[in-house]
Symmetry: C2
Subunit: 194 residues, 2 copies
Amino acid sequence: MKKSLGAKPFLIPTPVWLIGSYDSEGKPNIMAVAWGGICSSKPPCVNISIRKATYTYHNIMSRRAFTVNVPSKDFLWQSDFTGIFSGKEVDKFASTGLTPVKSVLVDAPFIKEFPLIAECKLIQTYEIGIHTMFIGEIIDIKADETALNEKGLPEWGKILPFLYSPIDSKYYGSTGPIGDAFCIGERPVIRWSK
Amino acid sequence: MKKSLGAKPFLIPTPVWLIGSYDSEGKPNIMAVAWGGICSSKPPCVNISIRKATYTYHNIMSRRAFTVNVPSKDFLWQSDFTGIFSGKEVDKFASTGLTPVKSVLVDAPFIKEFPLIAECKLIQTYEIGIHTMFIGEIIDIKADETALNEKGLPEWGKILPFLYSPIDSKYYGSTGPIGDAFCIGERPVIRWSK
């Protein structure tokens, strides 16, 4: 039996990604987001939703670029920090000890210490409720060499991304692989009767 | 040192959600998606990206509604199944043994056996690359009573959602809580020099 809980943003899991941007003076900033995801395979695009009140909103609007930085769970407190404080007042790189690296592809900084990052050009904005959705085209993915597997691809187990739950405002961890997609679901099928 | 991997949709984690919809004859269909997320807190909205070639695309366009169904990892093969086969040919509810329940709030079915579901009204569509992004306003969240904790809220550990990686096309599991958001990042801050 299902219980109704009302109109709430109670879907899980959501990712924890840090958004890198420059302000008008060139100061690098980072901000944690959980409202986001991949929204196109080709060209590869990512969407993130941010409120206008944030520093990052104005940075992205003026620079037309941002980075998506995937933290491992080793960077749990640093990631949370960047979601609590505003770049208007706080130097979030200095406070967390993280290092901004200037992208040569887009006008935004990425985080040196994070294992997986995406450099994105802003291609569209949409107003949805109290948030602005930024659509970024992924120009390049970069990964730490130590996070790559023998095939040269980023390995989940070497990154160990973590998750956010909007239901209880807690972070959750991830585990190793539990199955191959487009594979384990191969079973006898029941076709529609004509 | 970071290695460049090119323009790819290589961000993790992405969710695994099953989208419920009705076709023009009222047949219920489900389809797994990983391109999606929450995109507004108020009103609560969810975005999912789907290609025009899918059965679900036409269902949502005509019914202006869909459900988001969060599987536990007990439903791994069933979820994968719904991402492999098309509802044009296959009765995905019958083939997986899952049960469609008609929503009384929106014109779409949800999955009886899944622990957490969202009933959504389509409020907007955007074309992004090869995908169409559907924005659904979450009209209601429903959860199995067995998935609720003592506070009456859905508990992650009783749902155990799983994840998808577009890097290696595998599913990954989730663990229990690893920290409180907007809390563990509270540290001394370094302010910008004026």
